[in-house]
């Protein structure tokens, strides 16, 4: 212990197993992540209807399309409820209801009045947060600890935040006279069903618009439960209309001539389709699309917290996150140590029942998504990357995928280029900061990036060069309603959250155009 100076600076990652641990103490201690007793969250609060209609003009109405579809629990494959697939006629009714509410009173309602409804919605969400969290996990498959600790608090926070803006828009944009755009068509994804509804509804309503919202076809239930909150908040009929359905419903919503602005969160392919549809129509559009974020680790970083950040970055919500840190760029000098820490950490991840409060990784949202993940992982193996998956037992029913790590990944591999939208991490290495920048930006996407270093000047130097809408330093996947979120390039355009997010729902000179202050 006393002559240290000539020791090699590198640690030997596999030595822990060989540590001088007394013989009798090895083996299971009868306690630990491998033998936590089941701790399921109760489902007694959640009451589901057998069949859901559409929320148009402030009430639930049957869909004129008369088309129904089941929504299933991805952890079991069981049908939870049947919901309506809104057709073109239903979308038309919803847009008309939104238009009527907009013109009759909502656009003229003082900001302080709009704020009152938003505050009510926020508080009602908080009051019913356990019910919403359980339903979110039932319908979408995400671990209940995430819906409980992330989705619900953030959804309520978005309503609170934008309630605060509603009567202060003039101060947010000095020299302008901001006014609403009109009827907004919003199409949201299945990975954060309620949270994305909150991200979309709160700024639109704060700015004085009315809304037609189309939830994702695999996760309509929390948006449908939200209609109860909207009704309980006394929000005037037609201000928010929710038309469930599939891709055709979404297409009808964005293409409807009565819609003044379209906001879409989802895949890049669909985003491009929407942009083509709306080209030349003078319609406002914001897109929040895919990503292939780089999580960049320098050798001086706090490596144990880096490990947590990498795990949170890619395995949060099973990697079904547009800003997931799916490419790990690690400085070569610490690559071996980081990968060793990462593998050991992956071994403690608990995959299974989304409703169990100890579950770290729940179910994959749909069979189609599971097929896509499996196919891309297969391509990674075939293209020669080195696969690591912990030997965790997956549930026999439902759609699950183990946390996956690929080493020896080349930037040309499909797993390094395509958005996988699953719990799959690709590890690449770099030697210099310039090389890290080059590799991080070598993607058609540009949504988010993470930088891990204890050196403040390097954080700033890197952040300036990242072609990404969001850059996190020594953390990842951190969201706040005050912080604008959005992308570059094929990750879309427009921001959500904060002052910048309001811009997407405002005409900065709207009141002048309409003949002065209302």
């Amino acid at each position: 212990m006393s002559g240290p100076s000539d020791r090699l600076p590198a640690t030997r990652p596999d030595a822990a197993a060989a540590a001088e641990v007394p013989e009798r103490v090895t083996g299971s201690a009868g306690f630990g992540p491998d033998c936590y007793a089941p701790a399921p969250e109760g489902t007694d609060l959640v009451r589901l209807e057998d069949v859901y209609g559409l929320f148009i003009g402030g009430e639930m109405v049957p869909a004129r399309s008369e088309q129904l579809a089941p929504t299933v629990n991805p952890a079991t494959g069981e049908t939870l409820a049947t919901f309506s697939l809104g057709g073109a006629e239903d979308v038309d009714r919803a847009v008309l209801a939104a238009r009527a509410a907009y013109e009759s009173h909502w656009r003229d309602a003082p900001g302080s009045v709009r704020a009152r409804y938003l505050y009510r919605i926020a508080r009602l969400l908080q009051e019913r947060s356990r019910e919403f969290a359980v339903l979110e996990s039932l319908d979408g498959g995400k671990p209940v600890k995430e819906s409980r600790d992330v989705d619900l608090p953030l959804a309520a926070a978005h309503f609170f935040h934008h309630a605060g803006w509603a009567d202060k828009l003039d101060y947010a944009f000095t020299g302008a006279s901001p006014g609403p755009l009109g009827v907004v068509g919003q199409v949201i994804p299945w990975n954060f069903p309620l949270l994305m509804a909150a991200w979309k509804l709160a700024p639109a309503l704060a700015a004085g618009n009315t809304v037609v919202l189309k939830p994702a076809e695999t996760t309509p239930l929390t948006a449908l439960l939200l209609t109860e909150v909207l009704q309980d908040s006394d929000l005037p009929p037609g201000v928010v209309n929710i038309v469930t359905g599939d891709g055709a419903t979404g297409a009808a919503t964005v293409a409807h001539p009565g819609v003044d602005k379209v906001a879409f969160t989802g895949s890049t392919a669909v985003g491009k389709e929407i942009q083509r549809t709306l080209a030349g129509r003078g319609r406002r559009l914001t897109l929040e699309l895919g990503g292939k974020a780089a999580n960049i680790v320098f050798e001086d970083a706090a490596l144990d917290q880096v490990t947590e950040g990498i795990v949170g970055g890619i395995y949060f919500n099973g990697g079904q996150v547009c800003c997931a840190g799916s490419r790990l760029l690690v400085q070569e000098s610490v690559a071996e140590v980081v990968v060793s820490k990462l593998r050991r950490r992956m071994d403690t991840l608990l995959v299974g029942d989304p409703l169990d409060k100890n579950t770290d990784i729940g179910a994959i949202n749909s069979a189609a998504q599971l097929r896509k993940i499996s196919e891309l992982v297969e391509s990674g193996v075939q293209q020669g990357a080195e696969l690591y998956q912990p030997s965790c037992a997956l549930p026999e029913r439902g759609w699950f995928f183990p946390p996956t790590l690929f080493c020896d990944v080349s930037p040309s591999h499909r797993i390094a280029r395509e958005e996988i939208f699953g719990p799959v991490l690709s590890v690449l290495t770099f030697r210099t900061a310039d090389e890290a920048v080059e590799k991080a930006n070598n993607t058609p996407y540009g949504l988010s990036a993470g930088i891990w270093t204890e050196k403040g000047s390097r954080i700033l130097w890197m952040a300036e060069r990242m072609q990404a809408g969001v850059v996190w330093a020594n953390t990842f996947n951190r969201f706040d309603p005050a912080s604008p979120f959005g992308g570059y390039r094929e990750s879309g355009f427009g921001r959500e959250g904060g002052r910048q997010g309001l811009l997407g729902y405002l005409d900065l000179h709207g009141r002048q155009a309409a003949g002065g202050d209302r």
Binding site: P4, A15, V25, A29
Partner: protein, 322 residues
């Protein structure tokens, strides 16, 4: 007093450490010491604290907490009689239930080591003694080493000393290192636990450095706190030290134990620390050889919770033996 013979390093040699100033813990331990990010560390500790420990897992955790406990009394008012009843409780925490195991050790001041040693002779329960000018750890090094040797001579199996924070915080790392090494030698066959007194170190980076320094100097255990200052063990501090232990085991192949102490009073706290150990260091560390909880009042709450698991209802608090 038996003095010079037991010392590994003469006190005169330990007195001058000018050459040690600026010699960083990284050099002394021969290992890279990764920084600690306080935000990420507390977030991870918070997530571990939220693990839902129910039914069989709770039973296993509570039993393990008893087995890993250093039942402690460090009061000026301690009497031989009080130590004797503590020893009886250590051996058989729940007289009505022989399935409740004995605790790991009884921890007392050196003065009462002979009493505890006599009461626990021939049993699996060890005698632990604080020593080395506890709780400050700032007395003359010769005096501290003598106290360690005396306590071992009187029958202590384990010695809890306090890191010289004055030397450590002043950057006299060599001195702090040498004093731990000398204490280890003075303790001889007894296990040495080095208290970092993390509440006085000022940052998690310092906790990590002190952990590496103490382990490299020969500590068998590193321990959070004396329990004698305002800030004692916290979950993030325990996690920080567990991560240092993991790095040290990776590099050196030696498993060092962790003792958390001070302010741990409830059964729930005890299983939160066990979760930190289980998910950071793994099964080998879920054993009294490598994990201890130093506490005085914790045992009663653990026994109440164990009883409740067995009987399905909360028993009266006055049912437990003092």
């Amino acid at each position: 007093m038996n003095t010079v013979a037991t010392r590994a390093v003469p006190s005169a040699e330990l007195a001058g450490h000018d050459e040690g100033v600026g010699l960083l813990p990284e050099r002394l331990s021969g290992l890279p010491i990764t920084p600690t990010d306080a935000v990420g560390l507390t977030e991870r500790a918070g997530a571990l604290a939220k693990r839902s420990i129910k039914t069989t897992a709770k039973g296993a955790a509570l039993t393990l907490a008893v087995r890993c406990m250093d039942l402690t009394t460090l009061e000026g008012a301690d009497t031989p009689g009080k130590v004797l009843s503590l020893c009886a409780k250590a051996l058989r925490p729940e007289p009505a239930d022989p399935d409740v195991p004995a605790v790991a050790a009884v921890c007392v001041y050196p003065e009462l080591v002979p009493v505890a040693a006599a009461a626990l002779a021939g049993t699996p329960v060890r005698v632990a003694s604080v020593a080395g000018s506890f709780p400050a750890g700032l007395g003359p090094i010769g005096v501290r080493l003598d106290e360690i040797a005396d306590a071992v001579q009187a029958g202590a199996d384990e010695i809890d000393i306090v890191l010289n924070r004055s030397a450590f915080l002043a950057g006299r790392y060599r001195q702090a290192f040498d004093e731990v090494a000398a204490s280890k030698a003075a303790a001889g066959h007894a296990h040495l636990k080095v208290i970092l007194e993390t509440g006085e170190l000022g940052s998690y980076d310092a906790v990590r450095k002190a952990s590496m320094l103490a382990m490299a100097a020969g500590a068998d255990f590193i321990k959070t706190s004396t329990g004698k200052i305002g800030t004692s063990a916290t979950l993030p501090v325990a996690l920080c030290m567990a991560e240092a232990i993991r790095d040290y085991a990776d590099a050196e192949g030696r498993a060092v134990g962790l003792k958390v102490a001070g302010g741990i009073r409830t059964a729930k706290q005890s299983w939160q620390y066990l979760v930190v150990m289980a998910e950071t260091l793994g099964a080998p560390w879920l054993h009294p050889d490598l994990f201890r909880i130093g506490a005085s009042s914790l045992l009663n709450d653990v026994l109440l919770q164990l009883d409740r698991l067995g009987n399905g209802g909360y028993p009266r608090p006055d049912k437990t033996v003092v």
